[in-house]
Symmetry: C2
Subunit: 382 residues, 2 copies
Amino acid sequence: MPQLRQDLITGRWVAVATERARRPDSFTQAAKESIAARDVCPFCPGHESMTPPEVLAYRPPGTMPNSEGWWIRVVPNLYAAFRLEPDGQEQRAGRFWQRDAIGACEVLISSPDHRAPTPLLPGRQVEEMVQSYVDRYRQHARNPTLEHVLILYNHGRPAGASLEHPHSQLYAIGLLPPTYLEELEGARRFFEQEGECVFCRTIADERRAGVRVVFENGSFTVFAPYAARTPFETWIAPRRHVASFGDLDTGREKSALAEALQVTLRAFYDGLNDPPFNYYIHSALLKGNVADAWISDAYHWHLEIVPKLSIAAGFELGTGIWINVVKPEDSAAFLRERIAEGAGPPADASGARGVAPREPRFSAMRAIETSGGPGERLRRSP
Amino acid sequence: MPQLRQDLITGRWVAVATERARRPDSFTQAAKESIAARDVCPFCPGHESMTPPEVLAYRPPGTMPNSEGWWIRVVPNLYAAFRLEPDGQEQRAGRFWQRDAIGACEVLISSPDHRAPTPLLPGRQVEEMVQSYVDRYRQHARNPTLEHVLILYNHGRPAGASLEHPHSQLYAIGLLPPTYLEELEGARRFFEQEGECVFCRTIADERRAGVRVVFENGSFTVFAPYAARTPFETWIAPRRHVASFGDLDTGREKSALAEALQVTLRAFYDGLNDPPFNYYIHSALLKGNVADAWISDAYHWHLEIVPKLSIAAGFELGTGIWINVVKPEDSAAFLRERIAEGAGPPADASGARGVAPREPRFSAMRAIETSGGPGERLRRSP
């Protein structure tokens, strides 16, 4: 019998359709054709003039802005759906209302290497990528005209990535996103009823249940949400209660986030042969706009990875209800096994509750790491 | 400057990103490879035993159920995400709550012809297809355990169609879809403030503005919504205020709906070379469950066509805000021109307001119609 599951946070229902169940490994991607786009790639070193001038770059002292040498580079998006303008205008024609789309759209280039997705980067480089997220988040958080900052990553053409060179994106916008408001409303309701953060409770419940936990380290828990919308939907949540991603501790917590992200994406990469996915960070409203003090108690930032392994069709569009053909328990077990394979003995040797290891497991990553630090071109062959 | 537009009904914001604007005809699809799947198609005549037994068929008197001869055939979906069971069970483990997905999933086969999408069917056959929608809608509306019936059509693989043989689907479910509730809440708000149906008002406003109207006939207005989510999103709305699709008048109104649907899909087919799309019918709750009398005054059924010409990526998933790279005024003008080309002189010869013709324009359709009525195999070559 197919089942409906309700997401505790948003109240959203998902149909887990066991009738159409497919084995997790049936989602493994076919081999892709290589796209040799480096020559014309605007994100590759030497092509700095093909983008708008950089707004941030990590580069050795003494190198010129918008020249080679950087290991992280952030530039405004050339095709911006939002623009920072001093005065937003609006226009009404009867009931037809439009206003200027105020905001900033930026591209955060993850590394100089055209062919190095996050799982194949040196661990240190992933930390630098996370640092660039924090730096740009905090920069926009100071702008009182903005309400929300979304940092996201589109990987693979089916997930909407139009350029191959690995890059994240940032949207800092002047309106409140409905999906955030939906989470916030659920968090408020739970906080009023239970006096507790619904995300903290969910993380604790997931750790107790174990079956949906994919990975853990000192600061983060990676798990398949109980009401996962798509096969292999996976969340990365900090165990420390923090409402805003801007408050990430850039020492230990940053390293742990980089590790959790890399280990998880590596399990996707190895287990499903580099599947397309989107991830994004949900974070509380910008501080300048937090009128209600309860939000910092009730909301909890987190990162949601949504692989593009199924198509949202007429049913999903028409109802807002997702049909997921893989149980999140099965996708979590599959990813746990891939992580265990890459990192020594199985994490879940007992065969029982399946709680993933608490200690960092970096050996799989280290094997592909080069000796060079950030700033050097990676030596991995394409 | 990119613009934000708000949908009057749902309050949903859409960014119309003029910076990435593409000409409407840039969405024209590449030629597809023919898929010769008839031999194994479970929806083709002669293969009736490959599906569960039919729940409805239009067939000549004297033919046996589940044998050839039908011109419309409705069968339960073999891969049902919802199932009708007398007693729905639920299961709670702490805060993890699931319940049986109660409902019915059906496949409504549009015609015996494997290769005849809606725009290429004889007009009479499209009316029969609409009649099957009404018959099955009304059948499920009598079931007091169900809350909502969604009828939808997925066309093309990128839009989630797994079988080529043209077919619609019906989901009769025991829970309230969020997208419907969102519309209903907007309709309630508007009704309280303005004492009027927000859909009736929208249709009147669109007819006055004219620029987004694609087609009209005696009963229906076809238009690109002001805050269209995707390139070429198009709605078909009855001008008579009716909350439930089940109350469609199966005389003149049914014919007019079939015409509006066929003319519109034909403009997609000709203008964009058979693009993938989803459509679905949004209709009020089932009558047995309408506790609030205001719903019949405030809600208004309609059909939404959402072509799959762009990818909902990290931004859309993470915010619930859509970015549309084509202005709905431009997509409407493009479709109007295609309709005019297929039906005689341009609808908008004045070059001015662009209101589409009120009279049925069936000549393009008639040209491909066979002399045979429904039930005969179409003679068009594959």
